[in-house]
Subunit: 552 residues, 2 copies
Amino acid sequence: MSKISPLQQARAAYAPKLPAALQKGAAVCVQEGEATTAVADVEKVQALFKSTFGSPVLTFAPGCGEKKAAINVGVILSGGQAPGGHNVIAGLFDGLKSLNADSRLFGFLKGPDGLVKGEFMELTADIIDAYRNTGGFDMIGSGRTKLETEEQFEAAKANCEKAGISALVIIGGDDSNTNACVLAEYFKSNNVGIQVIGCPKTIDGDLKNEWIEASFGFDTACRVYSELIGNIGRDANSAKKYWHFIKLMGRSASHIALECALQTQPNAAIISEEVAAKKMTIGQIVDDLAAIVAGRAAAGMNFGVALIPEGLVEFIPEIKVLIAELNDLLAANAEAVEAMDKNEKVAFAAGKLSAESAKVFASLPAGIQMQLCNDRDPHGNVQVSLIETEKMLAEMVGTKLKAMKAEGTFKGKFATQTHFFGYEGRCAAPSNYDADYCYSLGYNAAALIGAGRTGYMSSVRNTIKPAAEWIAGGIPITMMLNMERRHGADKPVIRKALVELDGAPFKEFAAKRDQWAKETSFVYPGPIQYFGPSCVCDLVTKTLTLEKGGSI
Amino acid sequence: MSKISPLQQARAAYAPKLPAALQKGAAVCVQEGEATTAVADVEKVQALFKSTFGSPVLTFAPGCGEKKAAINVGVILSGGQAPGGHNVIAGLFDGLKSLNADSRLFGFLKGPDGLVKGEFMELTADIIDAYRNTGGFDMIGSGRTKLETEEQFEAAKANCEKAGISALVIIGGDDSNTNACVLAEYFKSNNVGIQVIGCPKTIDGDLKNEWIEASFGFDTACRVYSELIGNIGRDANSAKKYWHFIKLMGRSASHIALECALQTQPNAAIISEEVAAKKMTIGQIVDDLAAIVAGRAAAGMNFGVALIPEGLVEFIPEIKVLIAELNDLLAANAEAVEAMDKNEKVAFAAGKLSAESAKVFASLPAGIQMQLCNDRDPHGNVQVSLIETEKMLAEMVGTKLKAMKAEGTFKGKFATQTHFFGYEGRCAAPSNYDADYCYSLGYNAAALIGAGRTGYMSSVRNTIKPAAEWIAGGIPITMMLNMERRHGADKPVIRKALVELDGAPFKEFAAKRDQWAKETSFVYPGPIQYFGPSCVCDLVTKTLTLEKGGSI
C-alpha cells in the first residue's frame, strides 16, 4: 500500500450521511408519480425513445430490508474529474451489498472505453475502502469517449454479458447522461436485459434542473477555488499593490465564477451569460473593469480581485464572429498560411478579416493575435481553451488605464498578477456535502437497480436540509431531453443549465457588486474543514441556498 | 463589521498553545547563558555593534507573575506577508497585558514607513480580537522600506518619543531583523531608551539557524501549496494525460520546493542549491526532466508532476552569466536598443553575446529570449522574477522529447499544464503550528521587553514537541551576523539559510526521488485542518522533523 497522508487516514473513517429512505438499505419502497414527458420537442424525443419515454418520477421511502437476487453491476466514470466520484462508487457498492451480499461490482477502466473494449476490474471491499471519501477518479480512471454508435452499444452488450453484468451505472455530465439514456433505450428496445442508470457529475454545475438540484463536485471545487481567492484577496488587502485577475475553470457556464463571487465578494466578477445577453463587446468589458480600477484608485485603493470565467471569450458576440472568420480564413488559405512565419500569419489575417472583425482583432494584445493565428487544433480551428483570458484582460485594462491617465481620469497605479484555477479543485477530497451527496447518489443508484428501473438518473433532492431529510428517487432521463443542433444534425440532449440572469444567485450578485467594487468587502472562506462544528463542515453552496429561496 | 466566513468565526475562538515558561505570564525567570560572539567576521561585527555585541543567550522559565511598570510598545510588520503575523501581534498584546494591564500596543502602519513617518494606530482589545488566528497583514499593513539610515533612525526615535513608546517589535525576514539589530545598537549606543526586538518571519524558510529553528509562515504556506500539488497529482493520476510543471514561490532558497516535495512525493523536484553546487547547465536540467518523462512513458505513464523553485534560473551558473552579459550589453547600447523593435533587440543581443552565452541564449524558447531582451526593470536590468520558468522548462523538455522521439528513445505523449503558486499561500489562515508558534513568538517578545533586553530575536524552540515543551527565550541578533558584500560595500547581515545538501531533509529527498520518478507515489495532504484529531491538526513540517533527527 502506498503512503497516505494523515488527513486521508483520518478521513477514511467518515461515514457519509444518507437520506432517511436509504438508511434501512437500498430495498426501498417505490412511489411512482405521474407519467412524464420531455422539456421540449416532445414528439421528436418520444419517437427516439419509444421504450423508455414517459416513465414516472420515482420517490423512495424506507423499505423493509427485502432481499433481492444477487446481481453483477458495472460502473463507469465518464469525462473530467469531479470531487466525490469514489464516493458514488462506494455508495453503489454498499447499496448493492444491502440488497444481496453476493452482488458484485465491476469497474470499467478509463471511462466508456473500458466498456467498449471490455476492460474492467472487480471492485472488492478492500479496494472500495481504500478510496472512501477521497478525491480523484484514480480508482478506475475516466475517459472522454462518447458512447454513441450501435457498434459501441453491441460491444458494451457483449462485454457485459461476458461478465454477467445486468446493470450499468454511468457517472458523468450532461452528454454522458444523454448517452446513458440512449444506451438504456437501445438495450430495452432490443430486449437486452441490462439496466442503465446515470449519476449527475460536473464541477461546472451546468447539469441541473427542476429535478436534479446539483451535480456533484461543484461544491468542493468552488470551495477550493474560494479558499484560494480568499487567500489572494487577503494578500491584496495586505500588500495593497496588486490587482489579481483570476480565471476560473468552466467553459460552458459561469456557475463557478458566480458561486466563488458569492463566497468571496471580489471587486469584480464577469458572468459570461450576462455578457452574451447584453451583447457586450470586449471593449465594454475592458472599460467596465478599468472604471472599477479607477474608482478604487480614486479612493486610495490600488488593489483588487477580479474573477473571470474560463469560457468568457466564446460568449462575447464579436469575438465569436472573429474566431469563426479566422477559422474559415485560415482553412481556405491553408497552403499559403502554412508557408508563413508567425508574424506573417497575423498580418495576413488582419488584412483579410471583415472590417468589424479586423477592428476587434486590432484591439487585442499582440500575444493574443499571435496565439489566435498560430495555435490551431488538429481540425485547423483556433484553440479557444489556450487563450489566456486573464492575461489578455489585465493587459487591455492596463492599456485603457494608460489612456485614462493621459486624460486625467485615472490617477492611480495598476500592477497585476494573474492566476488560473482549475486542476487545483477537480480532484480535491470531497467536502462533507459532496461526500454525503455522492455516497447517497451511488447508494440510490443501487436502489434504482433493485427496483428494476432503467433510463433513470439517480436523484437526491432537498439537500439544503440535513441529510436525513433529503429526498431520494429517480428521474427518467428522457424527461430532461430536448432536441439541439449538434454537428449539423438534430440530437436529443439534456439542456445545459446556464446562469439565469433572473435567478436568485445572479440577482444577489448583481445587487451587491457595486458595493463590492467600491469597498473592500472580501470574505476569506479558508480551507474545507472535515472535523469541526457543523456550521463549518456541513455547508451548502450559496448558489443552491439562494435557488431554494434561502438567504446567505 | 464586515462579513466574515463561518470558518473565520469558529477559528476566532482558538486559544493558541504556549510554552510552559510563558503560561504564567510574560514576567518570566530569565536564565542567562554564556556571552556570545558572531557566526563569522567576529571583529568586524563587534566593531559595528559595540553596545549590543556579546549579549548572552536567554532561556525563560515560568515566573511568579511579578508586575512590571506599564509601557507603550510599537509593532511593525516588515516585508512580504506570511501566515500568522496577526497572531504575533495578538501574543505580544496578551503578553504585555500580562505584565501590566495598563501597557498599550501601537501598530505602525504599512511597515517601517509608518515608523519613519509617524503613522500608527493603537491596537485595542477589540481590534486584536478581530484578527486572532487570521491570515494576512491587513491589521496594520506591511511594507518593504529598509530601515538603514541615521535619518530614519532619528525619525523613528522622534516618533516613538512622541507616542511614549519605549520598545519596538519588528516582525520580518533576515534583512528586517538585521536592521532591527542595527537600530537596537543605534538606540543603545546613543542612550535612547527604546528597546528593539525582532521576530523571525518568512514563508521562504530561509531565516533559520542553530537558534531559530523556523521562521513563521513557512509551515502554513507549504501546507497550502502541498494541498494544491496533491490535488493536481491526483488529477494527473486520474486523467493520466498531463505533465504538470508547478513553480513555487521562494527566490533565494528552495526550502518550499523541498518541503512540498517531501509532503507530496512528486515525480521530479528541482532544488536550486543542488543545481548551483553541481554547476548544472539548463541543458542538463532539461535532459534530466526529459529522461524522467521518457522513463515513465516507457512504463505507460504519460503523466506526472514536477516542482520548480521560483529562483531556479539565478542558480544556474551559465544563465547568471547570460543575464549579467545582457544587463551590460543593453545598458552599454541603451540608445540604439531603445530604437529597436522587439525582434530586433533579440537579434542584436544574440549577435553581441559571448560565444558561450550566445549558445545558452539560443537554447532558450523564443518567448523567453523576447522577455529577457524586452522586459527591463527601472534600472535597465533583466526582470528575472518575470521569467516563467515553469513554461520555459515545459517547452524545452517538449523540444528535447521531440528529438528523442526522432531518435526512438521516447515513445510516449507529452502534454503539459503549468502552474505558479505563491500568492495563494502567503495570507492563508495560520495552521495550528503557525498559530501557536506566532502567538508564542509575540508573547515571548513581551517577555524580552519585560526583561529589559534589546537587540534580541524572539526565540521559541523544540517545536517538534507539544507546545508545553517548547523552549522560550531570546537570541542576540549580533550572534547570527556575518559580513557580506552588498551593493559594493561590506554589510553585517544575517546569513541566509539555504537548503543544505548534506542536511537530513535533502538527503531524504535524494534517497527517494528515483523511486518517486519511476513509480507514482503521490501523497495527497489535503487542506489544513483546525478541528480534527491532533494527528491531523498539530503537524510539524517534514523539514523541521528531519532536521531534528526525526523520521517522516
